[in-house]
Symmetry: C2
Subunit: 711 residues, 2 copies
């Protein structure tokens, strides 16, 4: 394979794009994510060094992930004039990202009187040194000018529900700037150190929440003034944070960083011959997944908005297991195992949640933070008309979440063959999830089957429904897998195991109507008003109003937020013949708003299963370009929800592998059905790992070839 | 007993009182109700001759009862000036009601220039001739004046969701004015005939929707010009409407009418020595019940707003069986049997409704119209902020309604001993109600008891709750009664009967907490925010907003609209010792808005059971004076709900009889526990019928005496 060498960039500057580009140009190394913002941005423009797995609750607010003080901060003055976006309009501005190496670039030219001042910067979150961010900031002028560069730490971070620091201590010791902040709730110390190599001597200045080196100098034309920073970020929770170097050699660090990315890309690059746009979009998605994957340190997973900020509280959703997991499973099973370990470790939290609602077993969090604590509140939306909180049922009724853990676990076992995860707590997780569903089952006195009532399925626009097809199918899967995998495991008695089996057999899973082939999403769904997405849009009074809830414009219609029956069929393609899948695709897709990034990829996958890559392609591209193109929803009701969409990225990879290439696992070996390549795709090629072996998968119009390679 | 001779009146005129007085001064005879409005009022001021049991649906609107053309219409001009309230301010105005004889009176003095013009009128809905309304309209002047009196029929009726007539034919034949109107939906012909005896000759005039006799004459001072009208109202549905006299002698008709009222009052008057205000209030309530009781003609019951208009669609609610039934049972069991017959006859509608939701048996309508059709829609409230319909669950989740029929049936059997009602379909009704509840029961796989999920109890502010105490208790009662009363009845197999018994035994009914004695209203109620009614009021943004629904100010708090646990305890006072009832009264009463007229009387009754007539008294008075005093809710969201409150009236009678007098039925005989007379009440006295015998009940501070009388 030819190694990827791609750079993306946006030329020009517009204030309206700041949030979008902050997401699009994210860099990260799994320990932290750094938003693609300019060095001079302060909190109101949403810069962030978002820490994975570090949470805090400010008094009266909700818990969310913590942003570290911004050690990348730089602000330039030339001849007394402040050169800062967005106030000072640039003559030229470019922001870029080298996907191959995770390098963020920026070049801005301002004019100050007759003088042209250029700033060029590069930064990366080191893949080799998870606590280190390196930044090179280069200034040059075309005429002599008096320059002042403030470079250091801005401790006034962007918070959605902050502030999170009860104390901030800004000090300098032996030339190293340091911000030591203590979180409110748990007193976690977040430390940011900045060591800088500068061509001139600076003085240390404290201004408000900023601790800076101030470099004043007369710049000569055609000289590049290079300032190199090592930003070290660590917390008192990190076991590996002792004795970190505070100053790294930029080039040397970059070499080691790039070598890591080379190894990652070797396993994960996807080639699409004949469609450069799709190839870029998919690899761009993969880039994001690689930036946020937990590869070192403590127990971590991947939040729904990646490491792009505090949106959705920095919490981990079922997105990780159902949409992102597959990608890691096939390209870096060690990451997949880490993701499972997060859920195994947080089992006590899930059991506590189940008990809180009177259920047995494990009810995994809708918004999982450390320890499995569900950060979701009962009032997760604000009504745009009254400003009042609206009772939502994400937390208490999305019971399908637990089954996602089991789905991922079973995939892991299938693809890796590594059963150690069962012994290391996977069996307990599986058992408690099965117990959870078992305790949910109800039976009417006059009926001989079980039902699951009062749930919210993946499609969140319909609350408190009975017998949601996806939920019940996933529950059945969980019960079956527990009965199968826990055979002879002493943690489960034979009686209980047989109880699971009986329950799985008797559990109602909505079946295709014999006439129409349609599967009803939940009891009564087909009786709802059959309005179109456009009709609903025309009914909106306020563009920001929530479509779901008790009385949203979609709530009492057949319009869905996202794939639900389609998700079920996508995850269990062998349940029904193709014509059933097709009929349901044709019915549900036009009735879906795709208001969630979890939607398009599921419909795309299902479209492949029904042999319609032409249906799949635009939905695949929508997923793969979710963060690449502007236009993602920024608001849900009155709540800011902007950020990256790693589930869409992972979903795009699933579509490419399971869908277009037809990849599946049969009896522990990779296998492929007929490929379903979109028009114009000459060849789709990627590597996978399966049971310790590496394979090169090559799909062409006729056939998908799976060749074992030497690892 | 001394026969009641009471007249109430309001002196003075205010436009703001028109709706209230329209209710307060209602007259009626069970066939129709006539609002207490002035003769000259047209539709916008809400006059109405509201027909019992006649319904229509205007296209795109909801079904509601039909108002007949207003045959009482009169408009006077004096010296060219229009004398009509509210435009022409009167010098004196009095509206009155003779409760003893159901006579509506009105006296208005206007000044026109120097001339005083007085109108005095009297009218009654004949108790002897159910199709007849008689009106006497008397004009006099204190100086000579030119008068024009228009008197006839106004066919432009007040409708909430009309118009209901596809055709209106206004004709005169042999001096009789006639309006023949055809309803839209079913083509029911509503006919109003007006025969008039006048002191002068009139000419017939048609003006818009009015057909009038126009009397022009020069009036002499100190002469009374008397116009007497017989208004005959009938519909093509009436079997007794053939050959009705079109002109009755006023005095003769009044004598016969008064004689009927005398008989009614003989059985129903309540004496309260020592509290004239309470005595008036209670007898006033009884007056209303007597005005609207079905005593003749087809299958009818009593709507929730009596016959005061189209509010709540003219539909019959569970109010009738649980709140009004007792009064009729003890004073006129024939009416009680008619009420039961309405439910027996509408059983097919209730069974259809059950089937619609997938249940077995009979699910009685929340808003029952003819045939048991449930007029309630799924969207029964309009959001004040968006103007959008709100999904409510009155229709589909208030499953307790069916049990009300059984409760009334069992009361009927107990008090009358008349088992014919069982043979005449009561047994089938009972069986189907039991089947309904049986089919609702669910059992969790891991539990050995039954539950009822996803209901709305009497307290409508909390929707879709599980194991509502009142609902489950009523369901158990239904199952038990079916098992008991259907023993040896061939309509029910022994197997099914034993199934009911087993279900009744295993059905969870929330029990008093051993520590606190409190019964939880439904699963999770005690975990809701414990806010006060006042706090909720302070949270209102719009005074008209609905407190309930998915996200009303009360929905997620412990504040109730109305008695729920208290209603259960009030209806089953022998379930628990007094201290449990007391603890629950003390807990729930302050948490109740009493936003329904069904509330105060239940708490008053329970207060008597706990020996606290001082708690009961203000709540009793609130019920008894609900329509007597102004201030009743006129709006629910954006929906007009003004009208009379016969359930409060019936509830007040229950408080007086069961509560203050301590009356109960033991082994088929009236019995009494210690009376609980409010302070100042020297004696409470009323008659009851029980198993064909008449009793005089006399409660004094020490004891309640029950004496059999000759009937």
């Amino acid at each position: 394979m030819i190694h990827l060498n791609r750079k993306i960039s946006d030329v020009g500057f517009s204030k309206d794009n700041i949030d979008h580009l902050g997401n699009k140009y994210l860099i990260g190394n799994g320990y932290m994510g750094i938003r693609g913002t300019a060095e001079e941005y302060t909190a109101e423009l949403h810069p962030a060094i978002n820490l994975s797995g570090v949470y805090d609750r400010a008094p009266g607010k909700w818990r969310e992930s913590v942003n570290a003080p911004n050690g990348l901060y730089c602000l330039l003055h030339a001849d007394g004039e402040r050169l800062a976006l967005p106030e000072k309009e640039p003559r030229f501005h470019e922001q870029s990202l080298d996907l191959a190496a995770g390098l963020h670039g920026r070049r801005t030219l301002w004019r100050v009187g007759e003088t042209g001042v250029t700033v060029e910067s590069e930064r990366f979150a080191s893949m080799a040194d998870p606590h280190a961010i390196l930044q090179r900031y280069v200034v040059s002028v075309d005429r002599e000018a008096e320059l002042t560069l403030d470079s250091g730490i801005d401790s006034e971070v962007w918070d959605i529900n902050g502030g999170h620091f009860s104390s901030v201590s800004l000090t300098e010791r032996e030339g190293i700037l340091s911000a030591e902040c203590r979180t409110i709730e748990q007193g976690i110390v977040v430390t940011v150190l900045v060591g800088e190599k500068a061509p001139v001597v600076g003085e240390t200045v404290k201004e408000g929440g900023k601790l800076l080196k101030r470099y004043r100098f007369r710049a000569e034309p055609l000289v590049s003034y290079v300032f190199e920073k090592t930003v070290t970020v660590c917390t008192s929770r990190d076991e590996d944070a002792v004795g970190l170097p505070t100053m790294l050699d930029y080039e040397e660090a970059k070499r080691r960083h790039t070598a890591c990315w080379d190894r990652i890309w070797y396993r994960s690059e996807v080639q699409i011959e004949g469609d450069d746009e799709a190839e870029l979009a998919l690899n761009y998605s993969i880039y994001h997944l690689n930036c946020i994957a937990p590869r070192s340190g403590g127990v971590r997973s991947i939040p729904a908005r990646g490491l792009s900020g505090q949106v959705y509280k920095g919490a981990i959703f079922w997105d990780t297991e159902m949409f992102m997991f597959d990608y890691f499973l096939f390209t870096d099973p060690d990451v997949a195992k880490r993701l499972l370990r997060y859920r195994i470790t947080t089992l006590p939290g899930a059991m506590e949640k189940a008990a809180e609602y009177g259920w047995r077993g494990a009810f995994y969090a809708w918004e999982s933070q450390e320890g499995g604590l569900d950060a979701c509140t009962d009032y997760n939306i604000t009504d745009v008309f009254t400003g009042r909180p609206v009772r939502t049922y994400f937390r208490d009724k999305q019971v399908h979440v637990s089954a996602a853990m089991v789905y991922a676990l079973v995939r892991y076992l299938e693809v890796t063959g590594d059963r150690s995860v069962l012994r290391e707590g996977g069996n307990r997780m599986l058992l408690e999830c099965a117990r959870f569903y078992h305790s949910l089952l109800v039976r009417y006195v006059g009926r001989d089957f079980y039902e699951i009532h009062d749930v919210v399925g993946p499609d969140e626009y319909h609350e408190r429904v009975n017998n949601n097809a996806y939920t019940n199918r996933m529950a059945r899967f969980t019960l079956e897998q527990a009965a199968c995998l826990l055979r002879d495991d002493p943690i489960c008695t034979e009686e209980e195991r047989l109880g699971f089996l009986e329950a799985a057999k008797r559990l109602k899973v909505p079946q295709p109507d014999p006439e129409t082939g349609l599967i009803e999403q939940f009891d009564g769904y087909f009786r709802l008003e059959d309005a179109s997405v456009e009709t609903l849009r025309s009914r909106l009074i306020d563009p920001r109003e929530y479509w779901g809830g008790a009385d949203g414009v979609a709530s009492h219609t057949q319009v869905n937020k996202q794939a639900d029956v389609a998700a079920m069929l996508g995850m269990f393609p062998e349940d029904y013949p193709t014509d059933v899948m097709e009929k349901n695709w044709l019915y549900y897709e036009p009735r879906t708003e795709h208001g969630s990034s979890l939607s398009a990829c599921m419909f795309a996958l299902l479209a492949c299963y029904i042999g319609r890559p032409d249906y799949a392609y635009p939905l695949f591209m929508k997923s793969a370009q979710q963060d690449y193109l502007p236009g993602s929803k920024l608001w849900l009701g009155l709540i800011f929800i902007g950020g990256t969409h790693p589930a869409a990225a992972g979903g795009a990879w699933m579509v490419a592998s399971r869908g277009f290439a037809g990849l599946s696992i049969r009896n522990g070996c990779p296998a492929a059905s007929k490929p379903q390549l979109p028009e114009g795709w000459a060849r789709l090629r990627f590597r996978i790992l399966c049971r310790g072996k590496s394979y090169l998968v090559t799909a062409t119009a006729e056939k998908t070839l799976i060749e074992e390679e030497q690892t």
